[in-house]
Symmetry: C3
Subunit: 136 residues, 3 copies
């Protein structure tokens, strides 16, 4: 049993930017040589997150729209007195910065329609992403 991890850079391009990183995750799994285990994808930031869902352009705009409706920007947040991005922190808490996915027989166990997304909520920025593989 072994562990293998890699820190990837992500350059986001707009205030909200939902980036499909599935290919990068698969590449790290391949490099690791690990065939059975888990991969944990972790964002070391407080205004970004990770989620898994379909890569369809309309749905990505729906994700942005629903989060903007539930947690609007500048809605009188106390943290906005410190830094103008409370909405991004709050969305990051709901979405979570971590997801763990099984690896079975060398394959990421995601379904046909599942992609892994890096969700930027306070861009554009240079971000980091940790892909951590553990198994045999």
């Amino acid at each position: 049993m072994k562990t293998y991890s890699k820190v990837l850079g992500v350059e986001t391009r707009s205030s909200v930017d939902l980036r499909n990183i599935t290919g990068h995750v698969r590449q790290v799994i391949d490099e690791s040589g690990i065939k059975n285990g888990i991969v944990t994808i972790f964002v070391p930031h407080t205004t970004a997150g990770i989620y898994v869902n379909e890569d369809e352009s309309g749905l990505k705009r729906d994700v942005d729209h629903v989060l903007s409706k539930l947690i609007p920007k500048g809605a009188g947040y106390l943290h906005d007195e410190v830094d103008d991005n409370a909405h991004a922190h709050l969305r990051s808490i709901v979405i979570s910065p971590s997801i763990t996915i099984p690896i079975i027989d060398g394959r990421l166990a995601t379904g046909t329609w599942q992609s892994i997304f890096f969700a930027e909520f306070d861009g554009p920025r240079r971000r980091r992403l940790i892909v951590h593989v553990m198994g045999t």
Copy 2:
């Protein structure tokens, strides 16, 4: 240290169906022979999720009601032009398709009132569920 995984079938019965799968998860842990480690429960679908909470019929209807209020069906989503289930994708993103729970001395480390739920948001359907155990 070893890994053991099993793909289970879940037959959901209505558009929203919250199914207690704790017994199935415990059975896979027993089969694995793993006494100390973790179990990752992962749904390979984009319109379903996994959550942990109490199995009380009123609360299950509250979960459905709150998610329906926060993310209503058919609220002008762009993805609904492709497929009529944007609300189910969006609820799945908030709930997440993955959870990891410790296994300690052969026991799932859930508390007295915690059950593991498969949350269907676009049923009825035949679904799959991956229970992945890793440890010693």
Copy 3:
């Protein structure tokens, strides 16, 4: 490869109490002697959760305020006929009772601004928290 886990007690002080537990998690990782692997932080309760974000007093009040707005207390929930805390269960489902974070070269892979929070939604209470480390 080995596993190490510890059950910690948390004494919450108010109905909603967001407690930074990062120091406790780091201490368990140190005790474990594990340098590369993962830590899973798990709450065995149905009215509390775990999240990762910035420890800033205004933001903590924003978290409470946003969750109270999205999932208000006493909003006609069916579970409130059984026990007067449906809102706390529902918030716990959205926040999740589990998070997994990589450990790399003996260091928790959290970013500069990330702290780990125990989120009490139905306090004050005596709570338990499981910190489970796995790796080499």
